[in-house]
């Protein structure tokens, strides 16, 4: 029951974006993907989701290469919430969440358990009271929750999230990450906030320049040396109750 990126590389427009990256999330774990802008976090998530194919190495799901699986079959196992979700459509919350049932629906359109799964996804994300609201009336945090609900409606065992807390205020950031953490599925989350990743992730993978520079539990990975090396900033890291806490030094 697990997704494995085995020595994957990816080249875009002649530039090597990922270079021999190996990631294997433990089943049920929440894995934080850290690294500066352009370090390859989004690209790695797209490879894990099967949206793009690696130019070297392989992504496996339960030992089977993604390239040998149909898109539909993959979409029932792995769901992704992208960084930007925009639509011109006048579409309700429930209609967006229902999109998650597409991989479970045949051409004729029978999906017997679909309605129940959609209701569960709406309930899990606290959206039950706003199912008839329109997408364009939602705040950033609500939109993010709707996209997570849509991903849950796919009934996946892996959830990939690309900076889900971007542009959200701190209360909503905590809310979204707490939601992801308490879900009973494997989650890989690209994040910018080091303290939040320490709070919510079981495991952290740090990318820099397309290669993995550190991996392990937050307390092992988030050190002053590593942060200075990867991000080029100086900081103090203190550990309280087993959780590292990062304070940045000015200048």
């Amino acid at each position: 029951m697990s997704l494995l990126a085995d020595q994957v590389s990816w080249t875009r427009s002649g530039r090597l974006v990922l270079d021999g990256v190996t990631v294997e999330p433990d089943p049920g774990a929440t894995v934080g993907l850290l690294g500066p802008n352009g370090s390859g976090k989004s690209s790695l998530l797209k490879l894990l989701a099967g949206v793009d194919r690696p130019s070297g190495g392989t992504v496996h799901l339960d030992g089977e290469p993604l390239t040998r699986m149909s898109r539909r079959r993959l979409a029932r196992r792995v769901a992704m919430v992208a960084q930007h979700a925009e639509t011109e459509l006048h579409i309700t919350v429930r209609e967006v969440v229902r999109l998650g049932r597409i991989p479970h629906t045949g051409m004729i359109g029978t999906d017997t358990e679909g309605a129940a799964v959609v209701e569960r996804a709406l309930a899990a994300t606290g959206l039950t009271d706003m199912t008839e609201r329109f997408w364009h009336t939602l705040s950033g945090g609500e939109r993010q929750r709707v996209q997570i609900a849509r991903a849950l409606a796919q009934d996946p065992d892996h959830l990939l999230l690309d900076e889900p807390t971007n542009h959200l205020d701190i209360a909503h950031q905590l809310e979204i990450l707490a939601l992801v953490r308490q879900l009973d599925i494997t989650a890989v989350v690209a994040l910018h906030d080091l303290n939040l990743s320490a709070m919510f992730c079981d495991h952290i993978v740090v990318l820099s320049g397309g290669v993995v520079v550190a991996t392990g539990i937050p307390a092992e990975v988030l050190t002053e040396e590593l942060i200075e090396m990867v991000y080029g900033v100086r900081c103090r890291v203190t550990v309280e109750d087993g959780l590292p806490h990062v304070r940045f030094a000015p200048g």
Partner: protein, 341 residues
């Protein structure tokens, strides 16, 4: 009014009844006294029932002139509106219409080459030339779009480029070679006209639009998945490249067939999808049949106005669609202020 759930089949049946009634009434309108009962009798007679008791002239007017014309109007309306709905979803662009792929301007160039320069020496009809031009320009658009990377914005840009190129070619040929009479004829055709329709046109267009509707309905869920873009569609299990090619080719074929028979009737494919979405929401299983019926009813009445408003002089159909449709659309827009379409 928004019908987003259960009562849709009822709405479709009502729409189809309205369509048949509209067609029957539209056929009676015009010079020559005809009643709906006469129309029914004549159609029934041709389908094998007993004599209708109408005159040969009445029979000719209904069976040879007005019935094929009304049917082609309905097919054109349905097909153009369907193509517009699909292209707006597929290209994620509310301004997309059936002509965004450069098909209509290619058709115009093809038709003008035949009509003005006499290319083909009589072996090709006007609509045959138009169809070839349409397919050729679509090929140019698709080739350019995929050579440039293949994203949806590339398709739109390549379409705009091809439209400009072929429109310029058409203008060039008309201005440099056509006499006044030819120019008038070509202009009329360019703005869309259902005059001189044959049963052959009706059969070809109905077959293409019918097949297109079935094919597109099979892709209805895939089209839904494009709501948040190509990558989102891919993670929902859609083969994005395959779906895009099939749907682009399908809409191009439908548009090419319709433009060849009736000229470039604008506006229907741009606006009716928005109107239909206001009524039934964005899900394509519901949207596509609705927009087809809406387009068919709309075009039947537009064409009736086009041939009767200044009778015996006809107005180009495209002129009427815009004159009638723009105010209606403005009303909808004003009532839905602040809501994206």
């Amino acid at each position: 009014m928004t019908v987003r759930t259960g009562s849709l089949p009822v709405l479709w049946v009502l729409g189809l009844v309205l369509l048949v009634a509209s067609a029957a009434v539209a056929i009676t309108i015009g010079p020559a006294a005809l009643s709906v009962r006469d129309v029914y009798g004549i159609v029934a007679e041709h389908l094998g029932a007993g004599p209708s008791g109408t005159t040969r002239i009445q029979d000719g007017i209904v069976w040879q002139l007005r019935l094929p014309r009304v049917l082609l109007a309905a097919v054109c309306g349905a097909g153009l509106a369907l193509c517009g709905a699909i292209l707006q979803s597929l290209l994620r662009n509310p301004l997309a219409d059936p002509f965004v792929l450069g098909v209509s301007s290619g058709a115009s160039t093809g038709a003008v080459l035949i009509a003005v320069l006499g290319v083909g020496g009589g072996a090709l009809t006007l609509s045959g030339g138009a169809f070839l031009g349409a397919v050729l320009s679509f090929g140019v658009v698709l080739g350019l779009a995929y050579a440039a990377g293949g994203g949806t914005d590339r398709v739109v840009l390549a379409g705009v480029a091809a439209t400009q190129l072929f429109s310029a070619l058409t203008s060039f040929i008309v201005l440099s070679s056509a006499d006044a009479e030819q120019t008038r004829g070509v202009l009329f055709w360019l703005l869309g006209s259902l005059a001189g329709v044959t049963w052959n046109d009706v059969a070809v267009c109905a077959a293409v639009v019918g097949a297109g509707l079935v094919c597109c309905l099979a892709y209805a869920r895939a089209l839904d998945a494009f709501a948040f873009g190509d990558d989102a569609a891919a993670t929902l299990g859609v083969s994005v490249r395959q779906a895009r090619i099939v749907l682009l080719v399908m809409t191009a074929l439908i548009t090419a067939a319709l433009v060849s028979a009736a000229g470039a009737i604008g506006f229907v494919g741009l606006v009716l999808p928005h109107a239909a979405r206001f009524v039934v929401g964005p899900a394509h299983v519901r949207l596509l049949p609705t927009v087809a019926i809406l387009g068919a009813v709309f075009m039947v009445w537009v064409d009736t106005l086009a041939r009767t408003l200044f009778a015996p002089q006809e107005l180009p159909t495209g002129v009427v669609t815009a004159l009638l449709g723009v105010p209606a659309f403005a009303l909808i827009l004003l009532r839905r202020r602040g809501i994206p379409t």
